[in-house]
């Protein structure tokens, strides 16, 4: 069997149905044999970065690893941003790149790049395959590593001569990866102590991250919170792990989180952080983060997260589901004072509601999102890009279940939304998929509109077009001396004509009354649809914590 066939057969064996890719010199043997494997459906992208984000969106939407093909050199390098995006957010992905022939490696051959070197900081693991006999084992291992423990992207760089070589196909009897100890680091010794600390707390807060979604621990989180009468906030990536409409919900935390969430975190005496990295976007100024907490409880599957940013008094190294299950039986009746704490939080919720300006005559992004939410409820996937659009989409929808809000949280990759929405639609064809993006990020990967049109995917694109790099403009206004520097996007395409050029319908909306009819048109249309919402160019994201300040110092939207 040829190396190329070994790769393709291994993908079939791993249950892969879709591949997002782009052919080129060093992976042509794989493409030569691809038609012999009709179970594998290949989506030809327009740029490799698009392939990586599609595979990422696919994986986030259905939980299966996304698979990407790219050629050597520039092809593989174009994946790097997409790999980094997936790596930061712990998304399982397999990237198979062609490499120059093994005899050419190191000679600066045509389209040769040290792809392992270029990607090792943005992959969970990577392999350079220089011998055909390594292939079956490597691919099997790669899927195992990408999808287990804390998931992540794994890259397999396969020399072109290996793809063309012929060898007997010998499957590995079993996996032997001595350095990959899945359960070796699990530590639930302190589960009881953690449960007691939380039950006995006067002012407990639970924060839930992406790890809760990755381990499908939403039911356990809810049971835990209700039993402990503990309020729950989520990180940006943890949205969907706890229903926003639940009475115990604190909605989103972090430096653009809700006022009542930040008040609760800053006044908590016990803070339990589940399945999250506790990065700077969550803590704001680290020295002033949750200053009244006596006991930090940190739960994460990755032991290296313990004390990386915040040193916990109690640590549980485990899958969120496993940890919550171990804790729930030890929860006793919550402290009587709990009613006072929850009443205090309700008072903060009243005092610091989410609000926005809608009396200046401009179309407001929140109006658009509220209309969308009324239509979709929780039956649609929203894929946001990066910037103001991302935070608005996070805050103004009341997500009540997992998997409906996808975004590049850790890496903050502009251009993520369109290709990721395409990937999500391939993964969940039965759900509506809405792409929410600013015009700045949208044009970074807009060439993938071709893919949406080619496959007539029902992806509805909501462009929140404010003629500028809005988040950067807001930062410059508020934190960089008010100097607006290089943020005006004055020369942009006419997006309705652009959509038309790609062969898809689009409309422009610049007043409130037109939101509904445009949304109706989007919903009626089969296949992709774009709405260019010309929004208030001065619209800002609130609340926001000024850079370098603590969560206590959040600014709210100005009163009307």
């Amino acid at each position: 069997m040829t190396g190329a066939d070994m790769v393709l057969e291994a993908l079939e064996r791993e249950g892969v149905e879709l591949i997002f890719g782009y052919p080129g010199g060093a992976n042509l043997p794989i493409y030569q044999h691809l038609p012999d494997h009709p179970k594998l459906r290949h989506i030809l992208v327009r740029h490799e970065q698009g392939a990586a984000h599609m595979a990422d969106g696919y994986a986030r939407a259905c939980g299966k690893p996304g698979v990407v093909f790219a050629t050597s050199g520039p092809g593989a390098l174009n994946l790097v941003t997409g790999l980094a995006t997936a790596y930061m957010d712990s998304v399982p992905m397999i990237a198979i790149t062609g490499q120059v022939a093994s005899t050419q490696v190191g000679r600066d051959a045509f389209q040769e790049t040290d792809v392992i070197g270029a990607t090792s900081s943005v992959t969970k693991h990577s392999y350079l395959v220089t011998n055909i006999n390594q292939l079956p084992r490597v691919i099997h291992e790669a899927f195992h590593i990408a999808t287990t423990g804390r998931p992540g992207p794994v890259l397999i760089d396969i020399c072109k001569d290996v793809q063309q070589a012929d060898a007997p196909h010998v499957l590995p009897a079993r996996l032997e990866i001595p350095g990959y100890k899945l359960n070796g680091h699990v530590n639930l010794e302190h589960a009881k102590a953690a449960a007691i600390a939380l039950a006995e707390a006067e002012r407990p807060v639970v924060l839930a991250g992406h790890g809760v979604l990755l381990s499908h621990a939403e039911a356990e989180l809810r049971e835990f919170a209700e039993k402990a009468a503990a309020p729950v906030g989520t990180t940006l990536l943890g949205i969907g792990s706890f229903p926003v409409n639940h009475p115990l919900s604190l909605h989103m935390t972090g430096f653009m989180g809700t006022g009542w969430n930040l008040k609760a975190v800053q006044n908590a005496d016990v803070l339990m952080m589940v399945g999250m990295r506790v990065d700077d976007r969550v803590t704001a100024k680290l020295a002033g983060f949750a200053p009244n907490v006596k006991t930090f409880i940190h739960i994460d599957i990755d032991g290296s997260e313990m004390g990386k940013n915040v040193r916990p008094q109690i640590e549980l190294v485990a899958d969120a589901k496993q940890a919550l299950r171990a804790m729930i039986p030890h929860l006793s009746e919550p402290e009587k004072s709990r009613g006072t704490w929850l009443a205090q939080i309700d008072a903060w919720r009243e005092e610091h509601p989410l609000k926005y300006t809608h009396s200046n005559g401009h179309l407001q992004p929140q109006d658009v999102l509220i209309d969308m939410y009324k239509r979709c409820r929780n039956e649609a996937i929203v894929v946001a890009d990066v910037g103001q659009n991302q935070i608005w989409a996070a805050l103004w929808w009341n997500y009540d279940r997992p998997g409906l809000f996808l975004n590049s949280g850790g890496s903050g990759t502009m251009g993520f939304a369109l290709p990721a929405a395409i990937g999500a639609k391939f993964a969940r064809p039965e759900l509506d998929v809405w792409c929410v993006a600013g015009e700045g990020g949208f044009v970074m990967t807009a060439q993938e509109l071709s893919v949406a049109v080619e496959h007539q995917l029902d992806v509805k694109i909501v462009l929140l077009n404010n003629f500028s790099l809005g988040m950067v403009r807001q930062f410059q206004d508020d934190f960089y001396g008010g100097v607006r520097s290089q943020v005006d996007l004055t020369h942009m395409p006419d997006f309705v004509k652009l959509a038309d050029a790609y062969g898809m319908p689009a409309v422009r909306v610049d007043k409130f009354a037109d939101i509904g009819p445009a949304m109706d048109a989007a919903e009626r249309t089969k296949g992709p649809f774009l709405i260019d919402f010309r929004i208030d160019p001065e619209a800002n994201v609130y609340p926001i914590v000024p850079l370098g300040k603590t969560l206590n110092d959040f600014w709210e939207a100005p009163d009307q």
Binding site: G117, S121, K124, P178, G179, Y180, D302
Partner: protein, 156 residues
Amino acid sequence: MSEDRLRVLSVVVEDGPGALSKVSGLIRRRGFHVRAISVGPSREPGLFRMTLTVDSGHAEVDQVRKQLERLVEVVEVEDLTGHDVHSRELVVARVAAADLSDLIERGAKVLHSSPTGTTVEFAGDGGEVGDFVEELRRHGVQDVARSGPVVMRRSA
């Protein structure tokens, strides 16, 4: 650099072309800094042992071990910092001086002699090797090559 940021780690890695670069790349990108390193085959075929002295930089010191453990190539990490250990370093030096009795007395071994100079080797713990290198100055030292420490616990 503060001494209490230093970790001495014994790291067993899979023998492969990428292992050393993956380990050193991780150390760099996490803001750590390698102060000394020695690498050689371990008792088990297919596994190599690295002895690393690493400055943890601004990170919590246990991050060095935890981050290394995340690498698939890394089979085992033992943090030997502060433990009762045998720590040995090797120095090879070429000196011009004819009278080497001071060096020999310290335990140096002559590897090669020629009319222009003598090559000696010396092994000891970090302090002893440091003192030996100081001593070499008084013997017209021409060249010095010094290894990183190789470390093992005194009792299992």
